[in-house]
């Protein structure tokens, strides 16, 4: 403890390891068997729908909650049995949790004072400068706006330069411009000292742009983790496919197989997926493709071994969103397919009621590991609603900016 709390700032980030961690609340298992390794100095994002256990995971790491089973290691040291104040970890709380009776400056200096830093106030001022709030340092938290409070919470944790910083949706209350700015600020703080950041967020875009590694969590389990681009390109489950961006998913039986691809029968059409991009190669499988990878044509595409196509269907909805246009196409016995088309030419494209075909490069499809039941088309849980909400917020903010 003395070594951790008595010493100055962390020289570098520490790695975090969760081994078989489980957390049961009375009558509810919030986390079941979580294994997770976060390398030192990385920016790790934990992404998932509301109530999936993100905050609980952070609280376990911070020591504010005891694990029911499993071990937690920080920098190779087993901290499972240590208390929160003994762990070299700081948290930016989802609810800010600023001390209402202390000034902003004293709030930020709190951790430094507990560790008997001599220049606590100087460093607190520096941290407040970083979040552009030094001019308000004499105020009490109740006299700040929500976004300002959030920045103070950030400063209060970052000022300690912990080996591991836990961020529980630290930018949720900020407007788009400020959020971008704080994201850059966070990235630079993290890079500068090489601290390890564990960042929890609802915002997939934030996770994708900031993190080295993204883990998608669902119902107390990590569904998939990896570099953002890989997660987006090759989602393994329907949940990930729909939580990170949007996907068109189809289910069907594998009807044929070559040495490096499988062919799936989707409502009578043969859809080819490379074996390297498919999790399962036989039986009933679910395959998918991203809406922006689809090509919309008014005539049936030429038979082409490099192209999958479905159709004809009818356009049921067209919505123009500046950079791209979103089409909904209803294909008989396949269902609704979403297509994003870049607005490259000004030419009027298809409109509602038109008969169209959709096609995509074989290389762009992916096969999921779920069986058809769990992958019911567009698992319409809160995640998609949430993404829609975020999209809408972003759009409104953009409209306001312009």
């Amino acid at each position: 403890m003395a070594a951790m709390t008595g010493s100055a700032f962390a020289e570098a980030g520490a790695d975090l390891k969760l081994v078989g961690v489980q957390k049961r609340f009375p009558g509810f298992t919030a986390i079941e068997n979580l294994d997770l390794t976060i390398p030192a100095g990385s920016f790790f994002a934990l992404l998932g729908p509301s109530g999936c256990g993100k905050t609980t995971t952070l609280r376990l790491v911070a020591g504010l909650e005891e694990v029911s089973a499993g071990r937690i290691l920080i920098g190779g040291k087993d901290v499972t049995a240590t208390k929160a104040y003994q762990r070299p970890v700081n948290t930016v709380f989802q609810s800010y949790a600023l001390f209402p009776h202390l000034s902003i400056l004293e709030n930020v200096a709190f951790g430094l004072r507990r560790r008997k830093m001599t220049d606590a106030l100087t460093r607190a001022h520096e941290a407040l400068n970083l979040v552009e709030l030094d001019h308000l340092s004499a105020r009490k938290p109740a006299q700040l706006s929500g976004g300002q409070q959030q920045r103070v919470a950030l400063a209060r944790a970052v000022v300690n330069r912990p080996a591991l910083l836990l961020l529980d949706e630290p930018l949720g209350a900020l407007d788009l411009k400020l959020r971008r700015q704080m994201q850059l600020e966070l990235k630079s703080i993290q890079g500068e000292v090489g601290l390890t950041f564990l960042h929890v967020t609802h915002d997939q875009e934030e996770a994708m742009t900031m993190a080295d590694t993204v883990a998608v969590m669902n119902k107390g389990r990590i569904e998939q983790m990896g570099a953002p681009a890989i997660l987006y390109e090759l989602p393994r489950t329907a949940f990930v496919a729909n939580f990170l961006g949007q996907s068109n998913l189809f289910s069907g039986l594998v009807a044929g197989e070559t040495s490096n691809s499988i062919a799936v029968d989707i409502a009578g059409s043969r859809i080819v997926v490379p074996k390297s991009r498919a999790q399962r190669h036989g039986g009933e499988v679910t395959i998918g493709v991203r809406p922006e990878k689809l090509i919309l044509t008014r005539t049936a595409p030429n038979a082409n071994s490099a192209l999958n196509s479905l159709g004809p269907g009818r356009i049921t909805d067209v919505s123009f969103s500046g950079v791209s246009t979103q089409f909904s196409v209803e294909i008989p016995s396949v269902g609704a397919v979403v297509v994003f088309a870049q607005n490259l030419q000004a030419s009027p494209m298809a409109s509602v009621g038109d008969a169209v075909w959709v096609s995509w490069n074989v290389e762009h499809g992916f096969g999921l590991e779920d069986d058809e039941r769990s992958a019911a088309r567009f698992s319409a849980d809160e995640s998609t609603a949430m993404i829609a909400a975020h999209r809408k917020d972003a759009l409104l903010a953009e409209l306001e900016d312009s």
Binding site: A84, Y85, A97, F99, P100, H101, R115
Partner: protein, 292 residues
């Protein structure tokens, strides 16, 4: 007398609000809202304030043995309060008992309140319920019961027994007051304190305690005024010792000395000053903060 005064202040507060707040009554019968209510309010206030005014005025009476009829104005009672036999001893006892009992009740009551809100243990709800008993039991019963208990235990009656008795009934009020404050405390604040390297002791003294202070202070003030005020329970358990209320009660038989009025008036003025100062300083603090 502090409770009387609090009641008077509370009534005054209500009275000020009532005429403006009775918009519905005014519409139906403008006369009612127009003058009956203010007159009624004035009468009620007068009724409540006259005894206090009387006490205050007669503290300046050039009294002889009794202090019933007005004989002329003097400051002698104020300058020489302790000349009357027993007044200052009684006040001194009341202050001593009040301070010690308040301290004990506040410390114990705060600890009980924290335990009741924070921890789950057997008989927790039973204890919460039982703590209301001293408030609900008639004071005569409580006083007589305690007296009997002290007798059986063979404890000599005196200041110690008074302090014990007062501590006992004050604890309930402290627990109820502080418990509400503890329950409204956001647990995330203490968690943040722990997360920021605060040991359990540091978290308590730097976060929990400062946040509970308003509740603890009002509990202490309430305890002190209850203790200073108490006559019935004290009378049963004081033996030969005299507190101020007991002194006034005994003196009433042959005429209360004007010095008692002085003490009563002083307490009233002190309470008023405390209230005014705290209000003014709070307003000043708000202004100062708004300026930054």
């Amino acid at each position: 007398m502090s409770t009387q005064e609090a009641a008077a202040l509370a009534t005054a507060g209500n009275a000020v609000e009532t005429p403006a707040g009775s918009g519905r009554g005014r519409k139906r019968d403008s006369n009612f809202g127009g003058w009956i209510l203010p007159v009624y309010t004035a009468v009620a206030l007068l009724f409540l304030l006259i005894p206090i005014a009387y006490t205050f005025v007669f503290s300046f009476n050039r009294s002889l043995k009794s202090n019933i009829s007005w004989r002329g104005f003097t400051f002698d009672n104020w300058t020489g309060v302790c000349k009357a036999q027993g007044v200052c001893e009684a006040v001194g006892n009341s202050l001593l008992v009040g301070v010690i009992a308040t301290f004990l009740a506040t410390v114990l009551g705060t600890m009980i309140a924290l335990a009741l809100v924070r921890y789950r243990f057997r008989f927790r709800s039973a204890i919460s319920l039982l703590l209301f008993l001293p408030m609900a039991t008639p004071e005569v019963v409580l006083g007589a019961g305690l007296a009997a208990e002290f007798l059986t235990a063979g404890v000599q009656k005196g200041l110690v027994t008074i302090i014990l008795a007062h501590t006992m009934f004050c604890i309930s009020f402290v627990v109820v007051t502080v418990k509400a404050r503890v329950a409204s405390l956001d647990p995330a604040l203490e968690e943040a304190g722990r997360d920021l390297y605060g040991s359990p002791g540091q978290v308590f003294w730097r976060i929990t305690f400062p946040l509970l202070v308003p509740g603890i202070v009002s509990a202490a003030l309430l305890s002190f005024s209850l203790s200073f005020d108490d006559f019935i329970i004290t009378n049963f358990n004081s033996g030969a010792e005299t507190t101020f209320p007991k002194f006034v009660y005994i003196a009433a038989a042959r005429g209360i000395p004007a010095e008692a009025n002085v003490v009563a008036s002083a307490v009233f003025v002190l309470a008023l000053v405390v209230v005014i100062v705290s209000q003014v300083s709070a307003a000043a603090r708000r202004r100062r903060l708004a300026a930054t």
